[in-house]
């Protein structure tokens, strides 16, 4: 209970040091959350910031909240975020190019104005007197919170319970897909397959390809890439890599170089023109 005494009335030098160091890191983490191009990076930065905040909670005498912050927030909620990021595409990098005219300007102006106003407001308020939590936490922080939650805030607490259940049900409803027609039997599937133009087995990824990565479409005998060879999730994300032109580009670069060396700069063959047109 030494931290308790320290948090009660004054701030120790240790806490000050901790604040300035971790606070800086927290701000950097927050900025990175906003500015990182990949969602997964943002999520990790946010998790870091949250852990720092947990430390701050502890320093402010909110022991229970500090632990909850780490366990529930960072542990559970951020993981949920990561799951969804995975689902949506972990490698997808966002463009930070602004598309709405004036949006960034306005956002920055509003943000600046808002921040300045908030800080000015806090600076204006007379917040010199600190009571500290010594008395409130006397019987233990968890016990103190429990007393309040189950007496004064019991209704709110019950309602949050209902809210959580509703949220859980809501999430299920939203993500659950109702099957609207009867599941096709094997016979029907085979009949459909027979009628379709893909009677032979679908091509496997990497067939006739120069790459064996899963996001590279296999080539059909005529040389065109078949998207059917890539898994559905990647197709939906639009993450199919098209390498068909890479080889040609490589070839072209090679030919260019050899031509440069042979000094046949501007005299190109009909075949090359045809390829260039492609």
């Amino acid at each position: 209970m030494t931290g308790l005494a320290a948090a009660a009335t004054t701030t120790s030098t240790g806490e000050a040091l901790q604040f300035w160091v971790l606070g800086t890191v927290a701000v950097i983490g927050a900025l990175s959350t906003v500015l990182m191009r990949r969602a997964v990076h943002s999520a990790l930065c946010l998790a870091g910031t949250m852990i720092i905040l947990a430390v701050f909670y502890l320093a402010n005498g909110a022991y229970f909240l500090g632990i909850v912050q780490i366990v529930v927030y960072t542990g559970a909620i951020m993981m949920l975020f990561l799951f969804v990021v995975m689902l949506v595409g972990v490698t997808a990098a966002d463009s930070l190019q602004e598309t709405i005219k004036g949006q960034r300007w306005l956002a920055v102006a509003c943000g600046l104005g808002f921040g300045v106003l908030l800080i000015a407001g806090i600076g204006n308020a007379s917040l010199t007197h600190f009571n500290g939590l010594g008395q409130a936490n006397a019987a233990g922080n968890v016990q103190g919170l429990a007393t309040l939650i189950f007496t004064k805030y019991v209704f709110a607490f019950e309602i949050t319970g209902a809210l959580l259940i509703t949220a859980a049900v809501g999430a299920m409803v939203l993500t659950h897909r109702e099957r609207t027609e009867r599941a096709a039997t094997q016979r029907e599937m085979s009949e459909a397959r027979t009628r379709s133009s893909h009677l032979p087995p679908l091509p496997a990824p990497g067939v006739y390809a120069r790459h064996n990565a899963v996001d590279v479409a296999g080539l059909l005998p005529d040389g065109t890439p078949s998207e059917l060879t890539v898994m559905q999730t990647l197709r939906q994300r639009g993450q199919i890599r098209d390498v068909s032109s890479e080889a040609l580009a490589d070839l072209k670069a090679l030919e260019q170089r050899s031509e440069d060396r042979l000094g046949r700069g501007h005299d190109s063959s009909p075949r090359e023109e045809e390829e260039a047109a492609k």
Binding site: T11, A16, V27, A30, L53, L65, I77, C110, M172, R177
Partner: protein, 99 residues
């Protein structure tokens, strides 16, 4: 050090989070920024709790966390179903709110 600094930090984080909401297009990142704003608020509540010497601020922060958890669950579910429907997690793609 004056504990008021926690409040300054909280407002800074809040503002950063808000700016992120406005600037980013990826719904998941936007959502993360919202979480950042909520956390900034929680920090302020905890600091206030210390300032006033009672635990009510912490209780509010606690409830905020609960509500945030619920919100995240539903919000992410919405993002997932949106993604399924539109193959995109960009908030700008869902711009049907006009005539």
């Amino acid at each position: 050090m004056n504990p008021v600094n926690y409040l300054y930090l909280a407002s800074l984080l809040f503002t950063i989070g808000a700016a992120g909401v406005l600037i980013r297009r990826n719904a998941i990142v936007v959502f993360m920024c919202v979480e950042l704003m909520l956390n900034a608020c929680n920090l302020a509540f905890v600091a206030f709790s210390r300032m006033h010497g009672n635990l009510d601020g912490q209780i509010i922060a606690f409830f905020t966390m609960v509500v945030a958890a619920a919100e995240v669950v539903v919000g992410l579910a919405i993002i997932v179903s949106l993604f399924r429907a539109r193959h995109s997690a960009s908030v700008d793609d869902a711009s049907l709110m006009k005539l």
